[in-house]
């Protein structure tokens, strides 16, 4: 189980975190006196009643993070396709946040429609943390039901899913619903400060960018006897594009998102290579183990993107920006060149993190601090749009690598390739798709 989104760690001090939390409550005018939560929840209370949809490692972590993010947060309903995953999740949460759990058996829902039952419960804050293939459908249902949402990244695995997310974005805005997303670098003080410097021109105009997610392999669940096609694919979801989007979408989206954020734009086209070179056993489904994409932004700026999941290779998770007046190693919060700068949170605050764990946890909690704060202040955040664009950036890269073709933003956005089966049934035949072959796999 991977309870955090990645191995990257923030550098924000504990004091800074507490200060910011305090500021959030002050802004909401809520310190010691909770007003009403707008707009859809139990009247007369600003209690955050969390419904968790998807109780794997990340969902469990997100529930814990939300609870730790502010007072008055309770987990009240849980949904997962598998009963055993709920049990594991619940027992893990009992060890860390037992007093904030109010999840009796009648509010633990299992099965393919569990998400509907969680949404129908008396919850006002939904955490969407299933495999991403389901996200568009879940987002749509949650917004239709008038819930605030924290959605894990990515938001979709294909063009049709992205278009659903765009509709949901508009709908949530109209309804005044808050939507936070799990691209936690946007809530990490060091990243925020660094990108701020870039936007202020600290390296001049950006002329090239690089984004990497190169690391070892992750968990895998080989098929067990008695598992149907669907059960195996759901339990081993990372290795099926309809569920994960492949690792360029599921994981590398973080780094692509940072570059889009810095560029204040998304790429207009891309060409790329990729393959399934080492991780070829059938338990690894049909996804690739490496990608390298050459993205181009509207002003002729290129981004080199590289993503790999192979054991015993050179690892690198980072983002870099080359500018007309300097260079920024974004993940190290460092600028060199005409206007050198380095984020010095610790020196300024003088209080180190209590532990490496706290340092790592910080942005994951902060994203809920910011989201809950915005709800309580009556100014709901809606982070869907930026994340959708970064998500489509990753999808277009996958399309380019899988097909060998040049893929434009419009090709990706308007793609009719729908990867998620229209209906699901535990006993349905669900063959593993063929591994993509550039030049043979069609661009659709």
């Amino acid at each position: 189980m991977h309870s955090s989104k990645d191995s990257e760690a923030g550098n924000c001090s504990r004091r800074e975190f507490l200060q910011r939390s305090g500021a959030t409550f002050a802004a909401a005018g809520l310190t010691g006196r909770f007003g009403d939560l707008p707009p859809v929840h139990a009247a007369g209370s600003d209690e955050i009643r969390v419904g968790l949809i998807g109780c794997g490692g990340r969902g469990t972590g997100a529930a814990e993070d939300a609870i730790k993010a502010a007072p008055g947060v309770k987990l009240v309903a849980m949904g997962d396709v598998f009963k055993d995953r709920i049990e594991v999740s619940l027992s893990s949460l009992k060890r860390t946040v037992a007093d904030k759990l109010d999840v009796p058996p009648e509010r633990c829902f299992t099965g393919l429609d569990a998400f509907e039952k969680v949404i129908a419960s008396d919850v006002n804050y939904i955490i969407l943390a299933t495999p991403p293939g389901f996200r568009p459908q879940h987002l749509k249902a949650a917004v239709a039901a008038g819930k605030h949402i924290f959605a894990e990244k990515p938001l979709a695995v294909d063009g049709p899913g992205i278009r659903t997310c765009l509709e949901v974005y508009e709908e949530a805005k109209k309804k005044g619903l808050a939507v936070g997303v799990g691209t936690q670098r946007h809530h990490q003080a060091e990243y925020i400060a660094t990108i701020q410097k870039i936007h202020e021109g600290a390296i001049g105009d950006i002329i090239a960018a690089r984004a990497y997610w190169m690391m070892g392999p992750i968990w895998v669940f080989p098929r067990k006897e008695g598992w149907t096609d669907l059960e195996w694919q759901l339990r081993n979801w990372y290795y099926f594009t309809w569920l994960s989007g492949d690792h360029i979408v599921e994981q590398h989206i973080h780094n692509l998102d940072v570059i889009n954020w810095a560029m204040k734009a998304h790429p207009v086209k891309c060409v790329g290579v990729g393959g399934r070179q080492v991780r070829t056993e059938s338990k690894y489904g049909h996804i690739y183990d490496h990608f390298a994409i050459d993205y181009e932004y509207p002003n002729g700026v290129h981004m080199l993107s590289m993503a790999r999941q192979n054991r015993n290779c050179e690892n690198n998770v980072s983002e870099a920006l080359h500018g007309t007046e300097g260079f920024c190693q974004v993940d190290r919060y460092t600028i060199t060149g005409a206007h050198p700068w380095k984020h010095r949170a610790r020196a300024r605050e003088g209080v180190p993190y209590l532990s490496e764990q706290e340092k790592e946890d910080h942005p994951y909690i902060q994203e809920h601090v910011d989201l809950i704060g915005s709800i309580r202040a009556g100014k709901p955040l809606n982070e869907l749009k930026e994340c959708i664009e970064s998500n489509l950036t990753a999808i277009m890269g996958r399309m380019a690598a899988y097909t060998g073709r040049m893929v434009t933003w419009a090709d990706a956005l308007n793609s009719e390739e729908s990867l998620v089966p229209a209906t699901l049934d535990w006993n349905m035949r669900l063959p593993v798709p063929p591994v993509a072959m550039p030049g043979l796999t069609e661009l659709r």
């Binding site: 990729g274 070179q277 990608f291 050459d294 060998g404």
Partner: protein
């Protein structure tokens, strides 16, 4: 047969070619006798062709067109049939300039030695690149001027040999040109000169591409030994070809090194054998993407692919602190930014020009020596291949000092020569 080094065609006008030739004639008349070891009292270029495949045959045609007083006089190939076919073509195309009687036609692994021992003063080395270091060494030892095809090696020991040969050739006053013809393209030269003059400020990011379709291949025939099949189907075996990042993409890597006036200091990369997996394709990859870093922090993104029905692109691009430059070989040379510029003439014929420049330099008594540049660009490509094959970060020192020698212990037509396993990043060792 692939006569040119790639699919792009030269576009120089005939008039331009004639002008160039005339210039050469003028230079020739003034300079008289050719320096180096050959028939005294003559400045005739007596060419020995080593490697009579498509490219070698093409190079022989090119050298004959490059200057007056050039004759093809000896030929070598591992295979009789390749030599005969080449001779037939050359006789038809070159007429009197082709003068290779039967006793000057040599076949076998040692055929190159016999060409070097013949009365030649200019050898074209155009066998599969695995043999190049050995051939370069022997040719310089024999005191010959050399036109060497690219790449000049497939592994680090080979590159080290080339660097030694470079020094020896300098000491002996021998001329060496290499088949990185972009260095002889007017469009490239004028663009790179502008980059060196600061037209786009400091170069911070470069892009080099050789994304193209499939090449020729030869199915194994009944009766062919391992060695005969690999020699005839040489592109798909790293010991002979170096893989396509070395054999082909070296062109674009060379242009970026030229512009940067440096070679990279380290690299990391990905690659694989995704589509072209049939046994006829040996064990090489079909795609690479390498992230190179130069000593000053500048980067190069390198991408090369050999796949049918994909987006093709053979080009180089540069991002500088004051603008951008884009080069599509032979066709487009553009600088944007405050010093915007465009090469608006037709490019020359660099395949011919590379010989013209070499021959002019010989006749002027100031032999050029391009071996170091091409050795460094070859090693740039080899370190990229090493990074992709192993998944590791590879430094210039690691590549330069690698003990990985790909050449079989013995060149024997009948010895078993198994196809090496396909490289697996994380498992294939960096040596």
């Amino acid at each position: 047969m692939h006569r040119s080094r790639q699919a792009q065609e030269c576009k120089a006008s005939r008039r331009e070619f004639i002008r160039q030739s005339a210039t050469v004639v003028g230079a020739t008349l003034a300079s008289g006798v050719l320096p180096g070891a050959y028939a005294a009292g003559s400045d005739e270029i007596r060419v020995g062709l080593v490697g009579c495949g498509g490219r070698g045959t093409g190079a022989a045609v090119d050298v004959a067109a490059a200057a007056p007083g050039v004759k093809i006089v000896a030929m070598a190939d591992a295979f009789r049939d390749r030599l005969d076919k080449s001779a037939e073509t050359l006789k038809k195309e070159l007429g009197d300039k082709f003068d290779v009687p039967e006793e000057q036609r040599f076949v076998g692994f040692d055929a190159y030695e016999k060409v070097l021992a013949a009365n030649v003063n200019y050898v074209i080395l155009a066998t599969p690149p695995g043999f190049r270091p050995m051939h370069l060494k022997a040719a310089v030892a024999a005191g010959k001027h050399i036109f060497t095809e690219k790449p000049v090696a497939v592994d680090s020991p080979g590159v080290r040999t080339c660097l030694e040969v470079y020094e020896q050739a300098k000491a002996k006053g021998l001329g060496i040109a290499s088949g990185t013809q972009y260095r002889h393209s007017t469009g490239h030269q004028e663009t790179i000169q502008r980059l060196h003059d600061g037209a786009i400020g400091d170069l911070v990011f470069a892009r080099a591409y050789f994304n193209t379709g499939l090449l020729w291949y030869r199915e194994r025939q009944p009766g062919w030994t391992d060695m005969e099949w690999q020699m005839r189907n040489w592109y798909y075996f790293t010991w002979l070809c170096g893989d396509h990042i070395v054999e082909q993409h070296v062109h674009n890597l060379d242009v970026v090194n030229w512009a940067m006036q440096a070679h990279p200091v380290r690299c990391v990369g990905v690659g694989g054998r995704q589509v072209r997996t049939a046994p006829v394709f040996g064990h090489i990859y079909d795609h690479f993407c390498i992230d190179y870093e130069y000593a000053n922090g500048a980067r190069m993104m390198s991408m090369c692919r050999q796949m049918a029905n994909c987006e093709n692109n053979v080009s180089e691009g540069f991002a500088g602190t004051k603008g951008f430059a884009e080069i599509i070989p032979y066709r487009k040379f553009v600088i944007t930014g405050p010093n915007a510029w465009k090469f608006d003439r037709e490019d020359n014929k660099p395949y011919i020009q590379e010989h013209t420049t070499l021959i002019e330099s010989l006749r002027a008594g100031r032999p050029i020596n391009e071996l170091k540049n091409i050795a460094e660009s070859t090693l740039t490509a080899i370190m990229g291949r090493m990074a992709a094959y192993t998944g590791k970060l590879v430094t210039w020192e690691a590549a330069l000092n690698s003990e990985e020698n790909l050449m079989p212990e013995k060149l024997d037509w009948n010895a078993p020569l198994p196809v090496p396993p396909v490289a697996m990043p994380g498992q294939t060792e960096l040596r």
